[in-house]
Each structure stands twice: as structure tokens, then as C-alpha cells.
Symmetry: D2
Subunit: 349 residues, 4 copies
Amino acid sequence: MIIVMEKTATVENIQGVIDILTEHGFRAILHKGDVHTVIDALGDKTTLSPNRLEAMEGVNYVRLIRQPFRLASRDRKPEDTVIEFENGVKVGGESRPVFIAGPCSVENDYGCLLEVAQAAKELGCQFLRGGAFKPRTSPYDFDGLGEKALKYLAKAKEETGLLVVTELMDSSDLKMVCDYADVIQIGARNMQNFRLLKSVGKCNKPIILKRGPASSVQEFLLAAEHIMYNGNEKVILCERGIKSFDHTFTRNVLDISAIPVIKKLSHLPIIVDPSHGTGQRYLIEPMSKAGLAAGADGVMVEVHPNPAKALSDGKQSLSIEQFKEVFSRLNNMIDLLHLDKKQPALKGE
Amino acid sequence: MIIVMEKTATVENIQGVIDILTEHGFRAILHKGDVHTVIDALGDKTTLSPNRLEAMEGVNYVRLIRQPFRLASRDRKPEDTVIEFENGVKVGGESRPVFIAGPCSVENDYGCLLEVAQAAKELGCQFLRGGAFKPRTSPYDFDGLGEKALKYLAKAKEETGLLVVTELMDSSDLKMVCDYADVIQIGARNMQNFRLLKSVGKCNKPIILKRGPASSVQEFLLAAEHIMYNGNEKVILCERGIKSFDHTFTRNVLDISAIPVIKKLSHLPIIVDPSHGTGQRYLIEPMSKAGLAAGADGVMVEVHPNPAKALSDGKQSLSIEQFKEVFSRLNNMIDLLHLDKKQPALKGE
Amino acid sequence: MIIVMEKTATVENIQGVIDILTEHGFRAILHKGDVHTVIDALGDKTTLSPNRLEAMEGVNYVRLIRQPFRLASRDRKPEDTVIEFENGVKVGGESRPVFIAGPCSVENDYGCLLEVAQAAKELGCQFLRGGAFKPRTSPYDFDGLGEKALKYLAKAKEETGLLVVTELMDSSDLKMVCDYADVIQIGARNMQNFRLLKSVGKCNKPIILKRGPASSVQEFLLAAEHIMYNGNEKVILCERGIKSFDHTFTRNVLDISAIPVIKKLSHLPIIVDPSHGTGQRYLIEPMSKAGLAAGADGVMVEVHPNPAKALSDGKQSLSIEQFKEVFSRLNNMIDLLHLDKKQPALKGE
Amino acid sequence: MIIVMEKTATVENIQGVIDILTEHGFRAILHKGDVHTVIDALGDKTTLSPNRLEAMEGVNYVRLIRQPFRLASRDRKPEDTVIEFENGVKVGGESRPVFIAGPCSVENDYGCLLEVAQAAKELGCQFLRGGAFKPRTSPYDFDGLGEKALKYLAKAKEETGLLVVTELMDSSDLKMVCDYADVIQIGARNMQNFRLLKSVGKCNKPIILKRGPASSVQEFLLAAEHIMYNGNEKVILCERGIKSFDHTFTRNVLDISAIPVIKKLSHLPIIVDPSHGTGQRYLIEPMSKAGLAAGADGVMVEVHPNPAKALSDGKQSLSIEQFKEVFSRLNNMIDLLHLDKKQPALKGE
């Protein structure tokens, strides 16, 4: 840490900072500038929070030099994390990008879910997604079928062999969701629901952690850190769009640059969700391509046999026929560009 | 609702929309423009989600005319909601703005909490705040003492008569928190934790609901709607700053205009939290004044006997002595401006 | 336009709106709902501003149905605009994506510029960029060599045949810049400098218009409309990143989705600038790929023989050697994906 | 400056940084941490740009310790700048907050302008505002009467004694505008039109500089620095709202906290514009109060004899009658709170 003192800091203020640093095992090195005094603190930040230093009299601000996440950091683990499933599917590293497809919510008609699952399977997708518990901005919207939906998903898995991804909204449902799902999703609005992070940190299923719509990359990686810190290192990050000043034509701004940024900072896999990221069906194809071109380890897409009748997110869902078209073009692009992964990337920075 | 069709919408597309509207009890009125066809839908939106219409073929977009929140809306209840406590304290309406003061987290030293509580009581504050469960961006930060903290708060209440405000992070703690607290706080990062909203909607304590750092006013009021819809109408809103592109000198941008905007849209009381809203001790006074001048029903301030030693949020906490100074100036301002509440405000809009 | 009246609007208020609409040649259709009255106005918006209607008593808000830009709109001109230069280079439509490379600012050492130009030429770039006039946030930073730089650019053009792109900051320099440049760039911070837009609207050089860092897509297209309205339809749009709440790891968020969104709304070509869009050298390659995959008509990259000595933007510039590497990989990707342009894209929406 | 090196920086990289620092007269102090090497650079930043250092190989990032603005900084000039006009009106420091009122644009009917001016004069306002040149997002909107409007303003000044504030959009109009105006306004969208800043830096009229809708406080003060650096220190800052993710109920978010933040960082006066800041007539009163309570040196309000007929910004303009009501309540509040200015504010930070 670097502690920059106020211009008006007294000798006592400075000594106060040095004392607390020493007390916590830091080595403090003092530099008196013409205007500001700066203290270099070498040691283990986990033992002393920069916030506490910032609150001391005479301290202007504190800068961290190391990133505050540790388990998620590439510094700790330079090689890519690859998450492998029983059926051999792999996510991350040099593996071929995966596809996660399915309706936003699982609805009453099982045939509907099965139709999507079968199409996804035939095309070569690896995962079936579907919401059993849905976070809804308004209490008047459909919020999911609960365990019935989980059962439908499990049945569709049985019939197709696809792995099941579904969202967990409350730790009290953890056991139930684990009974049916292969991957547990933490939704964007729960990215900083720390109790929920803690609870999935204690289970042994891989987690898809969606980026909060107003979360910085650092907050996103710290949320992953919460899960990892509690014991579960199988975290797949998912970029799904951030809030901006402009939502006339898209619901969110899909932050494609977060993909290579996170690849540099962390060893965790990261996938992209162009359905939520844009909220527009016609943007799924170009934004999937953009995400894959930038290095994403997978794509999550909403597919519904009849988007116009979907109980949620119909506007951003592809019909099965549309999905087939889009999928074949994305697949083709992966074939062409996948080679790149083995090519050396630009060194530097 | 107004449904604007695509330029390319077919006669079948248009009929499809009219059919679904009629089926759900809406009256549909069709207008063919030179470029676009527009359908007016008169009826009860709760029976048919605009999202579902937006997903239909040929639909460009759907505009709502009424606000999507209902219980929270001033249209339903034109008079201000006033929340009254057993000891006669009132929040909202024409009541004098209230003060909620206390440390960010309750810490190990009970004397410390009591000292703040006693000072707050002497000055004339109505509420003591203190975190027992703390949401922390990093898993390496102090996250609260749990039930021990709740016991400390209850003890301080016994000694001072102040009402206790504390945050609930998970529905599994609800009963415990209710045993000790007079008001339950839902933190900003949990504003869209819909399970938590549902659970506090079923208890009978007043709730302080903090605005999420990237939540629109509409999402904020819909979160209140979740609580009210589940049975608890005693919701106090709290503006605590939103994320912006600039965080060099403040942690968030305290959205003062949200106060008069919400006063116009809703009957619920709204208070302001300048400590989290700015993250800077020296901004607490001017931003409290700004909030009160704009119509806030109360102010929530972090106070700590020794901010430099606070385990959380020291930089934005006032010392007891500073709080005394600030409080006396705010109180003076309330005396002077309180009269305004009874003066007629500008009509129109 | 759809005019939604206040709940409290009087009969006179409503008549007032109908009168003004009729007076301006609109057909007004009245719908009385249970709560709100809505007026449909069919006619030509250019004759009556929605702002004027919004200011009338009893009006709640006005919604436009058509986009406010016209000349830039794909509704007016469904086929892509292709801008063709004397030497046969084309930008837009089915043309191969172009490359614009060069240093942020032209500096004193001509050899330096020539070196970049020659490398760019050899690789197959079409344009040389370089700033003669530099907008600088701080008055203490280097702000360009002025006409001397323009002369250097012209000389480098003579030696390599590359087309020259340079920024115009003030209409008083227009003639001078036109004497040397093939394409005039309007910088992001001048996107809404309407006098400047007007002046370049009256010249006959193609314009690269950069998106303002906080401009919506609609404001961006309206800025293009200003140029086109003044007579110059040769506008190339350039996405270069928008401001967000997070700038820890990137300077801006490159809004890749703006590319397919604008392709849908407008017939104008759009290129991408990953150097300014991210501010990080290592992100140029993945974000160029993302932009191209999403449909960009070109890429603009900062290249400097010695980024560490660049007088501006060194951190986001590639060295010549790095550029060669990156360029060859991008070029390879264009070869592979260019075919896609002729493949049918997903219909719908 | 503090230069934080990459983990992978070589001895040569480090020496390179030290060499360039020494060459530019800095004292470089080296600290080798376990992970990162950090270099303290003591010296005058104007001689060496941090951007140049950031571009060097092995450099991770550079942190400034001093603010990059100097002339605008309170460090350089601890006492408030007070701008005094010939007629004795003062802006800034301990002076009573001033009022600037008038229509958005000056329109064809002079009587209309005079009516506003006379009302403003009678109430006790000091300034008349009115646009002669209007920046318009769309080329189809009314963009001002030009010199005719300036003549009207001068005439209204003659009849009322009010000082005239009007916007300059292009340096080519500077002489003309100076002939008629007492204060020149630089609009929000021109805040980083550096040529325009330079030109008004060379005139001797006071300048009102409006904050760009996406400009940070630092960029805002650096824009003022441009004017001051060119010779004109009479700059009045104006907070007028920033862009956020939410514009359902307000056009912008009026950043009230910018007022006390800027008061701390700079000696320049700062006023508040609630008309543009919110875009809503009913918010003018509460947000003017909030601004004044937070320490603003003045308020700028749009007033029009018939807002419903205004050619621009009618929705956010007060009628004369409404202005009288609002003004009297604001004036009353100033009387009550003005005393505060002489009371000691909270020390610290």
C-alpha cells in the first residue's frame, strides 16, 4: 500500500500511521515530498484494511498496489482454470467454447422445454439452461415454477444428456437445486448477495456467476473470491451487460472488453450472455461473435419454441429455427478462429 | 399500454396482438399511421405483461402509460404515509425530520456503542443504527459480530430509549433480527434480493429500504412494491448515492433530486444517507442540508467514537464531537425551514 | 407522436393540444382512458417540436414513434452508403474492412511518421492518421504542431500513397486542413460542437465522426444528421468507447453493440477505434477482432515507432513490430470472416 | 508521482524510468517490494507527462499526488475568488447568492423578453440570461436569432439595469458577443471545446463555464484551467446535471455534492442550474434550495412568459408568476441560511 498524507498532516499524524503499520507487521518507509508525505507500506494487506488507514487523521488516501482478490488472481495461478464435467465437457483454457441454451424460465408445458433441449443437443450444445426461480423487478411478473421446473430440467437431461444450469436465489433452496442441477447460476442482481455466495462456496457444484449490471470488474472478481474463499474454486464468470446512460436500443451495454481484461487478471473461465446483455434478438448473433472473437469460453443464449408466448424475456429469445441458423454460423466461426487460441497473443503489458 | 408495431408488421401480426389483448380483457384501439401502426390497449396491465407483447412478431415496442408500481404510488394513496412508533416517534408527512445515528458496524467494545447512543440521545436523535451483519465487497473484510451485536444494540436501547435500526442480510436471520430491532434495514446491494424483500414483507416491523447504487427510481419503487405486496406497507425509502462515471472525490453521487421526484410519485417517506452517499466526512453536513432542503424526512449518519479505529467506513464517519457540531447546525436549519412544509409548494406538473 | 396527458388535465388543456396540432397540419386522434387521455398525432414532426408540446399545461409527456434523424436513417435509404476515394479505396457496404493507422500526434521528427506510414503501406493499410491539432484535457499537455504536421502528413502521403486522416478542431482551420487531408476527423469531444459540424457539412471531404464518450446512439446519429443536413453525406461513424462507472482497467467501455445497432438504424459506415476505446495496448487485438466480428467497416489504430517516447497516448499505441503481428492476425480473420458479409443475416426485428 | 512497475519489469525497464525522471529534473526514489517495484518521483509534473511514463515498458501505472489543475486550485489561492461587476454585483465568497433568470432562447417578440427582465429586476435578480446562439441536438430545432437576440438583450439591459449573460458557441462570434454581454457562457457541450476555451481565456469578460454532462470534477476544473491559463481568471463554474443510467423522471442528475467538493478543491465561485439539471419545472424549487443549502454562489433559472409557447426548453421553464412564488421562497431561505456562511464549517479532511 501507498499512503498519501494530507498537506496539513502533523508529525503525530504521520507517526500514528507508522505505528499502526508496524503493529500489523508492515514495513513502513517514509518519503517527505515538498507538498505531501508518502508512506510505503510493505506487508500483507489482509491483516490491515486500507479503509482503516484512510479514516486516520492526516491521511489523504491509500492506494493498493496488488489487486485485492487473491484466489481468483492469475498472479496466484498463472495457468487457466479448466472445469471438467463427468461427461467430459470442459469449460475454460484451450477448450472449445461451449454453448448453454434454453428458455429464460421453465414453463408449464414440458414438451416445450424438451423441444428446445433436443434441438440444442442435436446442434451440439453442452448445457441446457432454464429458470425455476426468477428474480423479477416487479412483483406482478411470473417468478418461476420452483421445484416442478427443476424436475422438468432433470427429465430433459435424462432424455438428452445435456448438463443442467439453473439459478439459485436463496440459500434455503441450495440443497434442492443441487439435487437437480449440474451448474448453479448466481444471477446478476445477486452478485453481491454475500450470504448466497458463501453458501454456494460450500457446495461442490460449478457456479456460473453473472456480473452485476453496475459492478466493476474488481467487484466481480471479489464476488468470485467470496465463493472461492469459502471452498469452491469452480467458478465460471459470465459477462451479461452493464448499465449505461443509453438504453434506447439495447437494455444494457455488453462489456466485451471485460473478457480480455479478466483473462489477463484471472485464471477463471468467462462466458458471454448476449441475450441479457442486449435484450434484442437481432443482436445475439453479432454479439456472440464479438464475445468469441475477444476470447470468451462460451456463450449462453435464450431459446424458446415460441418467443411470443414466453412468460419472460421473449423479446431477447431466439426461436428454435433462428437458433439453428445462428448456431451454425457461430460454430463455423469457432472452427475458423479456434486455431487462434494456440497462436501466440501479443506480449506486453 | 401503447403498442407500436414495426413498419413491416403484417396484417396477421397486428391481428395477433389484438387477439391476445382481447383475450386478456383489454380494449384494443387501432391507429394506422403513414409509417407505423399503433394499438392503444386499455385495461389492467397486471393480467398481461408488456414483455410478452414485445416478444410478438411485428411489435416494435410497448409503452406503459401508468407507472408499474401501484401500492407505492401516490395515485392510489394521495396522502403521505406516516410511520409511527410506540414511543410516539413519527417518520414522514408533516413530521419533523428524524435522525438515525450510530457506527457502521457494532464492534466488540460495548462502551463504544453506548457512548455514541448516549450522545445521540442527548442531542435529540430518535434512532440508533449499527450493523450486526455487514455485506462486504471483499471476503477479507470484517463482516460483523452477528447476534452479539444485536444484543449490544438492545442493551443500548434499554439504556437510552433510542429505537434500533439494523440490517438484515438473509431471510434465515429474520426472526433473530426482529427480536432485537425496531426497524429492519435492507442494504443497497440487497435492494433486488427478492426473496429477502418477500420475507420482510411478511413481518410487521417498519423497513428501511436503501436504493441500489445502480437502481433507477422505478426499480427502487418496485422493490418497495415487493415488500408492500407481501403485506408490509411500512416502508421508509433511503437515498444513499448512485454510481457514476466519476468517483475521484466521492464514492457515489447522492441523487438529491430523487427525493422530490419520489415525493411526487409515491406516498412513502424518504430519508437520506450522506455518509454512504459521499464516502467523505466533510460532505456529511452540506449534503444533509441539501437533502433536508429538498424535502427528506430524515437523515442517517455514521458516527463513531474514534473513526480512525473503526473496523468499517471510518473515512465517512463523524466523531462524536463532530456530530454534535453538525447536528446542531442541521437542527437549526430544520427549525428555520420546517415551516416551509406547511407553505404551499409550487403547483403544476 | 403520442401525447400522454396528465391525469389532472382539463378539457381546455386537451383542446389546447388538439388546436396546436391541427394548426401545424397534424391529424389528432383522441383516446380517453380510465386514468389518462392519450392523443395520437399523425403528421410531420419537423413542423412542430415535441418539446413545445411537452411544455403545455396538462401534458405529461410526448413519445416519438419515428426516429428523429432522417437523412442518416436506413428508412430513407435502405442500401449501405459506400464512400469511395479517388484511388479506389472504399469504406462501407460489402467492402473489405479498412485500416487506419498512425501516431496519435504528428511529432517533430518526420522520419518517425514516415516509418509508420511505410510499415502501414506495406502491410496493406489504406489510411494514415496523425493529429496536427490535439484536444487536451489539461492545458499543460502537448497540443500538436499545427500546419507543420499537416505538411508532414502530405509528404508521407506522397511517399506512400496512403490517404490522410486528421482532426479538425475549429472551423477557422477548415480550409487549411482540407488542403492537406483526404478525410477530416471530428473528435469525440467535439461531436456536439454544432458549428464545427455545420462547417464540415459544407465541405466535400469525407468526415470521420467520433462518438462522444457520453453520447447516446441517437445523439450520435443526430450529430451525423447535422453534417448531412448541411450538404455532406459522406460521413463515416466511429465508435471509440463510452464512459462508464468502471475505469480501473480500461479508459472507456468500447460499445461493440453500437456497431450492429447502427447498422440496423442507419446506412452509414461505422468503424471502431480500440486504442481510445480501451486505452490499453494489449486490448487492441481482441477488441479489433470483436469489432470486426460484429460488423465494423474498419479499424483505426494508434501506432508509434517508440510508444514510450510518444508525446501523447503512448500507453495505447502499438509499436511498429507489434502492429505487424496484430495486423496479420486481424487480416487473417477478415479473410476468414469476410465471407459472412455475403451470407444472409438473421431476419426479424 | 508514484510509478508502479509491472511484476515482470526488468532491471533495464526500471533504469529506463529512473533515467527519464532524472533527465527531467525529478528526484527518483526506488522501493523494491516483494511483488512490485515502486518509484517515487519528486519534482514538477509539468515538465514530464505521466502518460509518457505510462507508455514505457515495464510500467504498470502512474499515480499523481497533486491535482493536475493549478491556477484553479485552492492550494495556490486559499481565499475565495469574488467576481465583481461595475454595478457592484459580486459573485462568490461571502457574497449573497445571485440569481440569473431569463428565457432559454431570445425569441422574436422583444416584449416577451422585456417582460421577464422587468419581473426579474423587480424581484431582485442580478442577471438576465437568454440564448442568441443555441446548440441543438437535432438540426431541425430552432437554433437562435443570432445578433438580433444580442441587440434585444442589450436593450433589455438598458431598460432594467440587469447584467446580461449569453452563450458563445464559436470563437468567430467572440467580438460580437463581447459587444453586448456582461458575462459569456460556455455551454455544457462545449466544455471541452478547447479552442473556444482558449479564445475566451483571452477576453476580459467573466465566464460562466457549464459542466459537461459526462465530465468529471477534475475535467471540469481542467476546463476552467484552460481559460485561466490563457489569461482570464474570472471563471464562474456552473453545475447543471450529469448523465446517469436513469432518465425516466429527470433529464440529468444534478450533482449537488459537486458544489462542496469544488469549494474544497478550488477558489472559484460555483452556481447551480436546476432547469437543465432536472428538465422539470416542479424540481426547480427543491433543487435550487438543495444547491443553496450545499453552498452554491447563485442559481440560474429559465423563465418564460408563456412556457407552452417557448421555442426551446418550455418544459423546464417557470412562468413569470411561478418564478415570483419560487423566488420569494428561495430568497427567504437565503435570508435564513446566509448567516451560515459566516459560521465555522466542520474542520478536517
